[in-house]
Symmetry: C2
Subunit: 490 residues, 2 copies
């Protein structure tokens, strides 16, 4: 396969129209493929991406400055994810099939025969993220789950890695075609305007996004203002607060400090799950430990926009009267920027949460000293919605149950003595959270449950056997788990 590396220009209005028509045409065909057919196509996409790994990683490195090792791991994650969704649809539980047989004695009056399964919503517009050029981009999580669900995908490429996007899209399209998928089932578009126009188009039935709060909110507002509003799954911002109890600081303060530096500087701090705030007991020695830790060397950020946005956010934070520098690397505002820690107190955070609990997307974090452990609870009460919240504690910490209770209302994932960077793709994973962590707190962008964002239920009442979808036929020809008369059957 010829892999182009020329810089793609913005998608023209004419090309976009053809892509939207193609997606609309492909939708019913793709929706009616069997789960096996879709699974096989996803496997083929994963295989083709693996085949092209060397060249993909090379271009990804050129465009994003991420290290080869990091990109290798990310591509592995990406193809693993495609295969996991393939396994999942083949297994069939994603249709949440339910059968209620007719029941003349049903409590509220005779019940007709009603059967329900989940069906694909239609063409999905995916806005790629910048910081995971594979896993949250062209062949990333939303593309995988939407294709697995039976929805065509229109992928709006991120401007941070256009050549890689075009290359990846060519591989995905080629593999889908080889696997017999209909034309139009996957397309890529470039340019802010084409994304905006596509989001307003009535042929698009759902959309997802990974990026900043202002960018995501603007798109959310467009999706909501449509004559026919559509679901918009945006993953926006998170500071991922980390709470260190007194006992944990006493038992393992030095170790926690080292692990924290590893986590917040990982990938030059460009993870949506970067622990951006670390709360530590004053006079525990942890602040001093953190100041002494040898920080990693400066690393080039993803692109110029990320670099300038990072410097702006860091300057705003540094100029706050209650904030003092802790790790005062001289190159904090350079490109590439030296990792930097700022310092304040819990009282200051509580006095001005809006200014101090703010995401700096890059290698910076705010260390917060508390004097009374109950301030941890107070901070948990004032924080906005978060992707993650982390507690470093001891098992007999008296504050733990209440802190967990408070944080469970604010965050999508709670961690205990671990670090939020690194989001495993699993069955139980949840990557989301209350606004502004995400625009849809009931939906995840990572893990097998992500498929539900692109499915909607359809009930069939009194339908003859041969006109029912296979998932709902008496004989259970697909041999899937179903809920029959309210009881789950394996």
């Amino acid at each position: 396969m010829a892999l182009t590396t020329t810089l793609p220009g913005p998608t023209t209005a004419q090309a976009l129209e053809a892509i939207l028509t193609g997606a609309e045409t492909a939708a019913p065909i793709w929706a009616e493929t069997t789960a096996e057919e879709r699974a096989s196509a996803l496997h083929h996409v994963a295989d083709r991406l693996d085949d092209a790994a060397e060249r993909l990683i090379e271009v990804a490195h050129e465009e994003t400055h991420l290290t080869g090792a990091r990109l290798q791991g990310e591509l592995k994650r990406t193809t693993f994810q495609l295969r996991l969704f393939a396994e999942m649809v083949a297994e069939g539980s994603h249709t949440d099939a339910r059968i209620d047989y007719a029941d003349p004695d049903w409590g509220m009056g005779p019940r007709p025969d009603i059967r329900r399964r989940l069906e694909p919503m239609g063409p999905v517009l995916v806005f790629a993220g910048s910081n995971f050029p594979f896993a949250f981009s062209v062949a990333g999580g939303d593309t995988s789950s939407a294709l697995a669900a039976g929805c065509p995908v229109i992928l709006k490429a991120h401007s941070g890695h256009p050549r890689l996007s075009a290359m990846t899209a060519a591989i995905v399209s080629g593999a889908l075609e080889e696997a017999g998928a209909p034309a139009g089932v996957f397309s890529i578009i470039f340019g802010t305007e084409s994304g905006r126009v596509a989001l307003m188009d009535e042929r698009v039935k759902a959309s997802s996004f990974t990026g900043s709060i202002p960018g995501g909110r603007a798109l959310l507002d467009i999706a909501n203002a449509r004559p026919e509003p559509i679901p918009f799954y945006g993953e926006l911002g998170s500071v991922n607060p980390t709470f260190v109890t007194r006992k944990a600081a006493k038992a393992r303060g030095e170790q926690i400090a080292h692990e924290f530096v590893d986590s917040y500087t990982l990938g030059a701090g460009q993870f949506c799950t970067k622990p951006g705030i670390l709360l530590v007991p004053a006079a525990s020695g942890m602040v001093e430990s953190l100041a002494d830790i040898q920080h990693p060397a400066p690393a080039t950020l993803l692109n110029d926009r990320i670099q300038s946005g990072y410097v702006d956010a860091l300057e705003r934070l540094a100029q706050h009267p209650d904030v003092t520098p802790l790790v005062t690397a001289s190159g904090a505002y350079d490109a590439p920027p030296a990792p930097t820690l700022m310092h304040t107190t819990a009282a200051s955070v509580l006095a001005d949460p809006q200014a101090l609990i703010a995401e700096c997307f890059g290698p910076a974090a705010l260390v917060v000293s508390y004097y009374n452990e109950s301030e941890l609870l107070d901070v948990a009460r004032v924080i906005d919605g978060q992707l993650t919240a982390t507690i470093h504690g001891e098992e007999d910490d008296e504050i733990a149950p209440e802190l967990i209770r408070l944080l469970s209302r604010k965050a999508g994932r709670l961690l205990w003595n671990q670090w939020p960077t690194g989001v495993s793709v699993t069955y139980a994973q949840h990557h989301g959270g209350p606004y502004p962590a995400s625009t849809s707190s009931s939906s995840t962008s990572v893990g097998t449950a992500a498929i539900f964002r692109f499915l909607r239920p359809v009930a069939y009442q009194g339908m003859p056997q041969h006109l029912l979808p296979q998932e709902l036929q008496d004989g259970n020809p697909l041999e899937i788990s179903r809920r029959v008369n309210g009881v789950q059957q394996l």
Copy 2:
């Protein structure tokens, strides 16, 4: 218990503030009750409503003009629904509990221990509907599912039955208090302004609505424009098209015509699932049959607003140049209005779908003659999102598979040789559909799956056993079905 029947006035700003604070305070307490405690409280509410049935139905009849028999059936449905949600939460599958044990050999790299369950979103604002003064009102489906989910409810009463609403609310509040539920877990508010203010309040975390397209859209836009947008589950409008194939008309045209008249005039046509459009083959005799059928006597509509809205919509339809009266009752525009059928052709509907596929909330419907059966497919293609779509056909109808395929993309529920009025509360029921049938096509307002609209996932990573919610502990103390390492366990 003293049941007031005085007319409640609009909720004052001061009272509303106390109610919002009360709901916020009750939220964590109610969220942490056990499923058994919530189930027991719901049973108690149902029992107390049944105890007060006679008086409730009397007041409901005075305010809504619905018949005693209809109201009796509706109250039965309502208390059945409360008990069904009680059974469901006691069973535990609504938490969708998932456990992924740590796995060093996981395909994308070592997997930490991750466990996930669904948790309540927080205070829910429910806007009551007018046409089901019990089942979609104070103690209706959304109240039941939100309370079952662990969310406090603020119920915005419908202006069509204020005394009944106050009475029902007193019973619900009293029963919840007797059952040991926290103060503030359920409150009622009156007045358009209080509903609007509550919807904008940051303490409200989700909202639901049953009513008209303009009313629902206005509230949806408010919910979306909040600094923290919240899920808004609106059930708006639907014409519930019904398609009669040539073969069915030939085999059972007369019977279908009679059943249709029964269905569209049921409850004076004031059901969201009323079949508002009936497509029949021209020259099949069905139009003539329909014209000859003795229609039921006029029945008073729910309230003056419904009456005037109905007359306006019917006049708009009647004035369309392609529409002719079919059943020309002289009292079609009177109060109470005589049931009325209008007539047009499929070609006219296809030429002007916006004007002709429009809901008339009341005892009217549009009969549509088609000349070529393929026009059924064309109409299925142009209709908006619907709560239901119905086919009357024969099992060997060649058009059926394609018609079902098209309609499954447009409607939440598809019926075969049955009628959409009457929505059974079951495990497999889906009452929703693409916009404007509902504002959230993945959510249902009827059936046990409705509980998911008020829940959000929370993942716990590396959490010690005693700090985990019971649903996620190794020993499975609640003995619920869980997905362990990707495999559902009963």
